[in-house]
């Protein structure tokens, strides 16, 4: 796997109005580096979601290859976040929510009767739209909160804290104040703390639900760098409203749309193709900012 080239970000940042052809050259990986490795990773087959009688999402089949970043894009209300929450069974915590279809993780349906959803969620981590560190805990405690919740004993908590904060790109900023409350950090730092908190459980998949929507551009950039680095060792699915972000961080893009009815998948392809050569005109219109 090629080391992500972070310098391309600068190019993209300075070329917000770039042409699709330019995008093709600056998306961070080329098609030849992306080979689907068999049954690994995460896959959905014919997934639907309902909230009570409201059919929110219809028939989504997608494959997320191992160690890649997939961006879920589409206008508000198209079911991206619902779809994301189906991938680690957070959907079922909403009263009257229902689903159909299969979500395969390493070839096994996570909705199968014999699957312990709690153990599964330790391997499929999630970061939310709004940074949500536990306010009663300090920074260090927040990082290992997942271990505490999972009753996982560890003798080297300090190492885990340093390792996770380093990988989340936050260590240098907080190493001298691990005992301060998580809420004392800036929004961007809090979000990276939440990423570090997910990493402590060593997940294979990380789901991010618009992780940068509440952050300023500088913090957004830091989080994006973190995501790119993490994708070397885990599968990442990110919901984003920001087209530039999707282009900067993702290998694949899936475009969702709701035309009055339930949200559905319009098109999924390599990010370069989605931005430069989409098959569906609606995708082209959306990524070029003509609607949504």
């Amino acid at each position: 796997m090629e080391t992500p080239n972070l310098e391309t970000k600068e190019v993209i940042n300075s070329n917000i109005q770039m042409e699709p052809t330019v995008m093709n050259d600056t998306t961070r990986r080329n098609a030849e580096n992306l080979e689907v490795k068999g049954e690994s990773g995460l896959e959905t087959r014919g997934v639907h979601a309902w909230f009570d009688k409201h059919h929110a999402l219809a028939d989504v089949s997608l494959h997320f290859p191992e160690n890649t970043v997939t961006g879920l894009i589409g206008p508000s209300g198209c079911g991206k976040s619902t779809f994301l929450r189906l991938l680690n069974r957070m959907h079922e915590f909403i009263p009257k929510a229902a689903m159909a279809g299969q979500v395969l993780f390493e070839g096994h349906d996570i909705y199968a009767d014999d699957v312990n959803a709690i153990d599964m969620r330790r391997r499929i981590g999630m970061v939310f739209q709004k940074p949500n560190p536990f306010p009663a805990m300090n920074i260090g405690e927040n990082v290992v909160a997942g271990l505490k919740l999972s009753k996982i004993k560890s003798d080297n908590k300090d190492e885990i804290i340093e390792d996770c904060l380093t990988r989340a790109g936050l260590w240098n900023e907080v190493k001298d104040r691990l005992k301060s409350p998580g809420g004392s950090l800036s929004g961007g730092q809090q979000q990276r703390l939440c990423i570090a908190r997910s990493l402590a459980l060593k997940p294979d998949v990380l789901l991010l639900d618009e992780p940068c929507s509440a952050l300023d551009p500088g913090s957004t950039l830091r989080v994006e760098e973190t995501i790119v680095q993490l994708s070397e060792s885990m599968t990442i699915v990110i919901v984003t409203h920001n087209m530039q972000q999707a282009a900067r961080v993702s290998d694949y893009c899936a475009f969702f749309l709701s035309d009055g009815g339930p949200g559905h998948l319009v098109e999924a392809d390599l990010t370069t193709n989605i931005f430069s050569n989409p098959k569906d005109t609606r995708t082209a219109d959306y990524v070029q900012g003509r609607f949504g």
Partner: protein, 323 residues
Amino acid sequence: MIQDDLVPQHRKLVSSYTLVDRIFRRVITTGGLFSLVILGLIGAFLLYRGFEIFSDFGFSFITGEVWNIGDPMDTSTAVLGIGAMLMGSVITSVIAILIAVPCAIAVALFIEFYSPRKVRLILTAVLDLVAAIPSVIFGIWGYAVLLPIIEDWSVPLERWLDFIPIFSVPSGIFGRSPFLAGVLLALMVIPIVTSVAREVYSQAPRDLIDASYALGGTRWGAIRNVVIPFGRSGLVGGAMLGLGRALGETVAVYLTLNLVFDINFRILGSAGGNVASLIATKFGEATEYELKALMAAGLVLFLVTLLVNFMASIVVNRSGKII
């Protein structure tokens, strides 16, 4: 840097209200002040009627264990103190809170996080209903039904735990004990504490609960990690409200507790106290001077419950800001 003589004066800010606004403001202000005035008048009345007692007995009225009118014609022979009753009120209320709070937490957590929707609706309705049962009904039920049960529990408790002073019963008489009154008060207080606990728990931040689940937490993990810490101060407030109710309860305690003018901490024995019940018991045939003493006792009780409720509102107001 701006020169000092260029810094302008603060402008005077005038807000003008419409007529409707002004009328509404008056009505609301009157209503608000009215409740304060009532409270003040009650306190003033009790102080006025009981003042003679405080000047006669001083602090010993609160600490004294004897209630003796002496010669009805000669008030100087009277010895009056509510120490035993006050202590009894505290003991029964503390027993009530110790039992009620864990039960209320469990019920509130069950209703908010575990029960199916229908069960939740039924349980909530039942709890509201229990809160509305007149205390005399509780008293009669406590006397007829709970008394024998508590007696059955008290005997083995005394046998096995009598090396702990509060469980020893030298008199050998169980029955209408502070323990019985405390358990009964707990049952009366549970709906109040549960209702407050539910209210705070339902406001526990959804995103933090989600975060717990997403980190592989169980439902109990999320509750312990997020909901209970979040609700802690609110729950303390609820417990204080319950304590206020338990301290002031009259009829139910009157029916289930033997009033004995002797400060003791033995909760299983058939001897205890309660200020409110004292007033109810003595009021009917009190002499003029004794009546003043009852007013004074009322004032003490009034101040204690006021203090407890005041502390409760402080704690409740702090709720949510800690987390």
